[in-house]
């Protein structure tokens, strides 16, 4: 009854600018249509079908349309944000545009849902997306596939917005798979290289494995709860058995989907390969937005995960393991983008620790700060690669423009990038007052606190008490923080410090990127430095505290409180404990940086071509623990060979078609052949047989 009354009341956002929420995704879709059309038109304009080398005919229009739709989208998002700030909304703002799949009691509408959580994501996607679009204008303008690139990028933003704005799981799934598609297309953007095409395909298929889990979770929901829209599931969730098999299974299957999309163990393998795409793509899709969709999904489904403590433990444990696993690999990578890729996997692990232990705000907070500093790191790396490419292009040498052994001393050529990259590095390493410090600290503090008292601590994972698991997760997180500081400092040292190893001739051509690329870097730098102010801890008297906590309270407040077994806003742990945790975190981060400065000697590096192979455990790390090889040997090759040799050649061609189908026809033909042996063709024989037959019949009749 109350629900009906609430629903019948006008929503505080009705009639405001929020009614235009549909335009948020539609604008980038429009950009996709225009840019895609230009890409196809360009083929016609070039006379024959081959794209000409060099700048595209319509590069000018594309440079305007591509970023403009994002600027408009961002402006609209800000306007809607303004309306939301004034509205004090408790329930989400839902608009159903048309029926999508109306089948009996399964009624799925093409509906969008705007709430505080979605708004955070929308601002991140459109804001950072806009900066990366602008950066792309500089980075990609001379590529022959420039309109195609922007078409994909716009399409990606469209799907990403559908993902975060969808009002039910199937609509979210449209965005979920859609961003996967764009990721596939953009990783394989330079598809003429087999490596790139392979990487795109791998990303899509590994994601599909995760999507399988997501689908099963939806089926379970429909079969046992009967609805698939967030509001309906949220209303029904409290009446499910707490910690029962059903809600645990739903959450675990859903987390399989998250592991695929957000590159967690065991499905993280696609993300490092995904670096084959253009660098802005890595920044936007494979660092800032798409890969965080899994975190978003867990936060969005907080009402389910808070009911399933075992699932929460699994999420946190996988997050912790992924964090440290990827961080160790990051220690030994030479490709600057690979370092950042493993760093992303590792940081996503942190986010899952956050949402896994039921500190949804902390997870989302780290998502936001990570979007800033990781976006900045990737774009900065992009700037460096751009400069390296240009230098090698001038001297016509074909060296690896992404290998750190070929860089060194870049701060002399790119001082602005150098400064900004250091800001981002300090942020990711967790040095106060940069943004990453606050979010990472919040995640780790949450894990530590929940280990003491929460529904998770009371649960058991394979017989191990949840508290123990969470303390382990905390230690893993802390250790990863140390490694993060080390490998990021290593990357900075090798790239920007020491002497330059690019080559004599090349050095003259290394220079800072144009303003269209550095502008977005500066904006992201500001974000990386100050995004921590979004959610200051209570003990720091620096300004408004817990802003994000209060903002997200209507969405994740109740589940958070349920997990923490405390009333929202109540004291979680003592101030002394909090300060101790913060000091430990700072100590670890500073220790990592100091260690890296002390141990690593960029002067000793030689260019890639002259470098020796790694040895011992270093070799294992450099080869990423041989996980790809193990997967190949354990899954890919057996499946292929089983299909080819056993199923196709054996069962299909051999058994079914050969033995049964053609066997039947061979049997018929064989019988016919036996019969035909009786046909001598000689009339005389027939006559003798005839007479013998007549005599036999006559005799039989007579003698009877």
């Amino acid at each position: 009854m109350m629900l009906l009354q609430v629903a019948s009341q006008a929503h505080p956002l009705s009639g405001t600018v929020a009614e235009w929420v549909w335009l948020l995704p539609v604008l980038p879709l429009l950009g996709f249509v225009i840019n895609g059309g230009l890409a196809l038109l360009g083929l016609r304009a070039n006379g024959d079908a081959r794209p000409a080398a060099g700048r595209h005919t319509y590069a000018g229009i594309v440079s305007v349309v591509g970023p403009l739709v994002l600027v408009l989208s961002f402006a609209l998002a800000v306007a809607i944000f303004g309306a939301m700030r004034g509205a004090h909304m408790e329930a989400p703002f839902i608009r159903n545009y048309f029926d999508w799949m109306p089948v009996g009691d399964l009624q799925i509408g093409a509906a969008l849902q705007l709430d505080q959580l979605a708004m955070v994501m929308v601002l991140v996607i459109t804001g950072i997306g806009m900066l990366i679009h602008i950066f792309s204008v500089g980075y990609m303008r001379d590529d022959p596939g420039y309109p195609r690139y922007f078409a994909y990028l716009n399409l990606f933003v469209f799907f990403m917005l559908v993902l975060v704005l969808g009002a039910n799981y199937p609509v979210l799934f449209v965005g979920w798979e859609g961003v996967g598609l764009c990721s596939y297309l953009l990783i394989g953007f330079w598809f003429s290289d087999k490596v790139n095409a392979d990487a795109g395909k791998k990303a899509f298929i590994v994601n599909r494995i995760g999507d399988f889990g997501f689908l099963i979770a939806m089926f379970l929901l429909f079969a046992h709860v009967g609805v698939l829209d967030f509001r309906g599931v949220e209303a029904a969730a409290p009446s499910l058995a707490f910690g029962g098999w059903l809600v645990t299974a739903i959450c675990l299957f859903m987390f399989l989907g998250c592991a695929g999309k957000s590159a967690q163990i065991p499905l993280y393998v696609w993300l490092p390969d995904a670096m084959a795409g253009p660098t802005p793509v890595s920044a936007l899709i494979h660092a800032a937005t798409m890969v965080t969709a899994g975190v978003y999904l867990v936060a969005r489904s907080a009402f389910l995960f808070s009911m399933a403590p075992v699932a929460g433990l699994v999420v946190a444990l996988i997050g912790g393991l992924t964090a440290i696993f990827a961080a160790t690999i990051g220690l030994k990578q030479w490709d600057i983008k690979k370092v950042l890729a493993y760093s992303t996997v590792s940081q996503l692990g942190y986010m899952f620790i956050g949402v896994g232990v039921g500190a949804y705000t902390a997870g989302i907070f780290h998502l936001v700060t990570h979007a800033f500093f990781k976006g900045l790191l990737f774009l900065g790396a992009g700037s460096v690669i751009y400069a390296m490419h240009a230098a090698y292009h001038h001297t016509h040498r074909h060296e690896d423009a992404q290998d750190m052994r070929n860089m060194g001393g870049m701060r002399r050529f790119m001082p602005l990038t150098w400064v900004l990259m250091w800001i981002a590095t300090l942020a990711i390493a967790g040095i106060p007052p940069f943004s990453g410090f606050f979010s990472k600290d919040e995640v780790l503090a949450a894990a530590f606190t929940r280990a003491g008292q929460s529904t998770l601590a009371d649960a058991y994972l394979f017989g191990v008490p949840g508290g123990t698991v969470l303390y382990l997760v905390y230690v893993l997180g802390l250790a990863s923080a140390l490694l993060t500081a080390i490998y990021m400092t290593r990357m900075m040292l090798y790239t920007f410090h020491g002497s330059n190893r690019t080559g004599e001739g090349e050095q003259q051509h290394l220079r800072e990127a144009p303003w269209v690329m550095t502008g977005p870097l500066v904006a992201l730098g500001v974000g990386s430095a100050f995004a921590g102010w979004l959610n200051l801890p209570a003990i720091l008297p620096l300004g408004p505290r817990h802003t994000l906590d209060h903002w997200l309270e209507p969405v994740v407040g109740a589940p958070t409180a349920l997990t923490a077994q405390a009333t929202a806003g109540g004291g979680e742990h003592s101030a002394g404990m909090e300060i101790t945790l913060i000091l430990i975190a700072i100590l670890v981060a500073v220790g990592g940086i100091v260690y890296a400065f002390a141990r690593l000697k960029p002067e000793r590096l030689v260019p890639k071509a002259d470098s020796p192979e790694d040895e011992g455990f270093g070799l294992v790390l450099a080869n990423k623990y041989y996980v790809d090889e193990v997967y190949d040997a354990a899954f890919v090759t057996p499946t292929y060979q089983l299909s080819r040799i056993f199923l196709w050649k054996g069962v299909d061609t051999g058994l079914i078609d050969g033995l049964m189908v053609n066997g039947t026809s061979a049997l018929a033909r064989g019988l016919g052949w036996v019969g035909s042996r009786l046909q001598t063709g000689a009339t005389g024989t027939y006559a003798w047989v005839l007479v013998a037959g007549v005599l036999a019949v006559l005799g039989a009749v007579t003698l009877r």
Partner: protein, 97 residues
């Protein structure tokens, strides 16, 4: 009277059968078939003396069929001879399976 007629008919028929079985020449075999038909005709005529005229009707029918058969059969034999320069049935075994 009937017994004698049937005996002659049987003898004639047997000659025909044996001829069909042992001879190789298509024309002679053909003649033997005619002989068998006429043996049957003889029995029909003999029976018709005792059992009414239906037998004679059958004889006329058989003679008509035999005439038609002779026309077609001889034509086929001639055509075979044109193709293969022989009417020996041992050389004609296209139906061999």
């Amino acid at each position: 009277m009937l017994a004698e007629s049937l005996a002659i008919s049987a003898v004639l028929f047997t000659i025909g059968v044996v001829g069909v079985l042992i001879r190789r020449n298509a024309i002679i075999i053909f003649m033997c078939v005619e002989l068998m038909l006429n043996a049957v005709n003889l029995s029909f005529v003999a029976f018709s003396r005792y059992y009414g005229a239906e037998g004679q009707v059958f004889v006329l029918l058989v003679m008509t069929v035999a005439a038609a058969e002779a026309a077609v059969g001889l034509a086929i034999i001639i055509s075979i001879f044109r193709h293969r320069q022989t009417v020996n049935l041992q050389n004609i075994n296209l139906l061999k399976g």
